[in-house]
Symmetry: C2
């Protein structure tokens, strides 16, 4: 059986990577990777659906056992991608999609270089500013700093396999779907099973 | 502006590469590469649509001028892919699709390694036998020889980027379309124009 693919969907905040991943999970057989965190669950969050909520001890133990594809500490809380769950799905032939920021994606690239790395871009900085402003939670200064940060992040694009500009959401989702299909159409080990079958038939 | 891509669609006779290319040309902006030949046109064939019909002198001159991406002589007639026409389209940012047998594809790979090479496979040898028999023009011996030939041809698959099994035509066409979209989503020079624009906006 074919091994599944790990699709790492990454990009600056506001580019829309989360929405794209959600649509992909809804419209295809690709499964979302669920992160592990030490932060407290919010009222609407479910263990195993939004996150795996674990104690700091358990998280540190998982790090020690080399059990994470990547992890980071943000404001005193740990977040990470459990390796075992992802590998189980891939080995069972199922595709996994992982939504993650650029720093995290670069760590995943080290721990799982066989992943397919997709960078989601905003159509323009003007549009990105509009999207961030629309969320209404940040000051003008904070937004300007964020856009400067975005430019730095975008310079990592050459570490990625694909890039998708998210202007129209449906168009961007279709592109990611096309990438998933194309990756499964690459000439790989799996095709030799079919050729073997040809030989037996003749 | 982005350069177009050359999609080289190849595979054993009976796999359905011709029908797939035709559908792609109908359903997308991709343009078909028209071959040049010295054979006589059949009643329904049009110069510039099915083939460019030329004299043997003109063909040999084109070879001498290094004007063909590949060529072959079959039963005393020459067939080839005019380089200038393909390059003009690619340079104008248009995609070109080229339907060709495996030997021809291998020559194109030497003359234009930047092409995207797609191998069309039949779902099984049993199905391929059925398709060839359905055409009704060949003896059992000739068909058996052809299937043996197909097995040899299939061994070239590792020189290709993608393979598409043509069981259901629509499904195969969708896969080729996905490959075209994915190839245009690869991180390449062209994305740096967008990043340059980001910098100007900020």
């Amino acid at each position: 059986m074919d091994k599944g693919h790990l699709f790492v969907v990454s990009g600056p905040s506001g580019a829309g990577k989360g929405t794209i991943c959600q649509k992909i999970v809804e419209q295809t057989d690709v499964e979302l990777s669920i992160s592990m965190t030490t932060r407290d669950p919010r009222s609407f969050e479910e263990h195993g659906a939004n996150y795996y909520f674990v104690s700091k001890e358990e998280f540190l133990e998982t790090i020690e056992n080399n059990g994470l594809l990547e992890y980071a500490e943000v404001y005193g809380n740990f977040y990470g991608t459990p390796k075992k769950l992802v590998m189980e799905k891939l080995n069972a032939g199922r595709d996994v999609i992982l939504e993650i920021d650029i720093q995290g994606a670069m760590k995943v690239k080290q721990s799982y270089p066989g992943g397919v790395f997709i960078f989601i871009l905003p159509p323009s900085m003007t549009e990105l500013r509009k999207r961030i402003t629309g969320r209404g939670s940040e000051s003008e200064d904070a937004i300007n700093m964020r856009l400067g940060e975005t430019l730095k992040e975008v310079s990592y694009i050459d570490k990625y396999d694909y890039c998708v500009v998210n202007g129209e959401l449906d168009e961007a989702v279709n592109r990611v779907q096309a990438i998933i299909i194309a990756e499964h159409s690459k000439v790989s080990e799996s095709i030799y099973h079919l050729i073997k079958k040809y030989e037996e038939e003749i």
